[in-house]
Amino acid sequence: MTHDELRELTGGYALGALGEQERRAFEAHLATCVECAREVGEFATVANGLALAVPQVDPPAALRARVLNAVLSEESARVDPMPFPQPPVRVRPSALPVWLATAAALAAVALGLYSLNLRERISRLEEDLRLANARAAGVERELQVARAAVPRTSNARQIATVLDAPDVRTIDLLGQKNAPAATGRVYWSPTRGLVFTASNLPAPSVGRQYQLWVIPLGGSPVSAGMLDLEGGGLTMALVDSTIASRVGTVAVTLEPAGGVPQPTSDPVLAGTW
């Protein structure tokens, strides 16, 4: 099949509507085509929207008790799940150019779409296993990326402690209108603290500096320190759990050098848990 013919299959693939042969041919193509992989990823989001775009109807009130009782009675009867398998070894992200790593990730995501469902039809247990694997591998990959970005400083151990925390979660930060290309990510453990990373922050003008804020739900911003930029607008910070125990929003503002007690400008980067 030509590329144009294969590209016609992106929609059917994302909706799970390809025949077996076409699906195989398309998946082989996906592994090498960043354009189609990206489109499949976008269509997967649309498909998820289709699930929510139906008329909303309240279920009968009695269903709540029925479902809760049924689920919990099964819970108490079930045996312990099998132990976690080790996550598969993945290609180190740093070994690939960025665009290729992205293409590979998209293709992997797209390729993962069907295999899971095939397994689901064979056995729900097998699906459990793959979900656990995929999650573990995804987390492991995130940790690898984050660890690779960590300079060998005295903070490294503390950062690793946060990244490895059982309660660690991620918050994605988006560049606001004054820095639309900026992106950031926070790894937050309520018990061990918070690791903040960002890239593409514009260089501040003379006498100005970026300041990091942790804003608890319903509370006032608490300064989490000043940020120094490296090349590429990269920066990172480690925030103690005494400040980061309750996080609603994490934001970055541009302030007079040395910092201010409360933000005086709109955020350039912000994300909410």
């Binding site: 909706l15 025949g19 997967a44 699930a51 929510l52 099964e74 799940p81 729900r124 979900l131």
Partner: protein, 174 residues
């Protein structure tokens, strides 16, 4: 959700049962079966709860994909009962927890926008997409149902999804 206590389950139910029920009702057009789907989904979710950490990923996308898969399972069993021909084993909806986290999270506002956009899609595009998504038909099935060439169906599905994607991403207004 991890840890699996009953108040967390109740909370999960209160947040998502309506959306799950609504999708199942749309696919199955049968209230009793839609209720069974809700129970199936929460049972499956709970079975995986100790390993799926809701703190890491929005759980809504995951639940909705299970809701679609369970609903289509039932729809296909029903069709198999009333049909003497072999059903095409069309795929249930793809899901991947990593996609849930990175890509599939859409807001209520986006869902609303998408709903409007679906309404104004040309009929031929909307019908093809709806047959694939809500009825689980393969492109070949759809071509037969609509008596259109397969190539036409492929193009309609992709073109329609491109339009919906543009609405969802804010590139165009619905």
């Amino acid at each position: 959700m991890a840890g699996g206590d009953s108040s967390a389950l109740a909370d999960l139910y209160d947040r998502h049962a309506r959306a799950i029920y609504s999708l199942a009702l749309r696919i199955l057009a049968d209230a009793a079966e839609a209720e069974d789907v809700v129970q199936d989904v929460f049972t499956q979710a709970w079975r995986q709860a100790t390993r799926y950490d809701a703190a890491r990923a929005p759980v809504a996308g995951w639940l909705m994909i299970m809701a679609r898969a369970r609903s289509l399972d039932r729809l296909r069993r029903r069709r198999a009962r009333i049909s003497t021909t072999e059903m095409d084993p069309a795929m249930p909806h793809p899901r991947d927890p990593e996609i849930d986290q990175e890509t599939l999270a859409i807001t209520r506002e986006q869902a609303e926008r998408l709903r409007g956009a679906i309404g104004v899609l040309p009929d031929v595009h909307r019908t093809a997409i709806e047959l694939a998504y809500y009825e689980g038909l393969s492109q070949t099935d759809i071509a037969a149902r609509l008596q259109q060439p397969l190539g036409t169906v492929k193009t309609r599905i992709r073109t329609g999804l491109l339009k919906l994607r543009d609405v969802l991403s804010g590139r165009v207004q619905s």
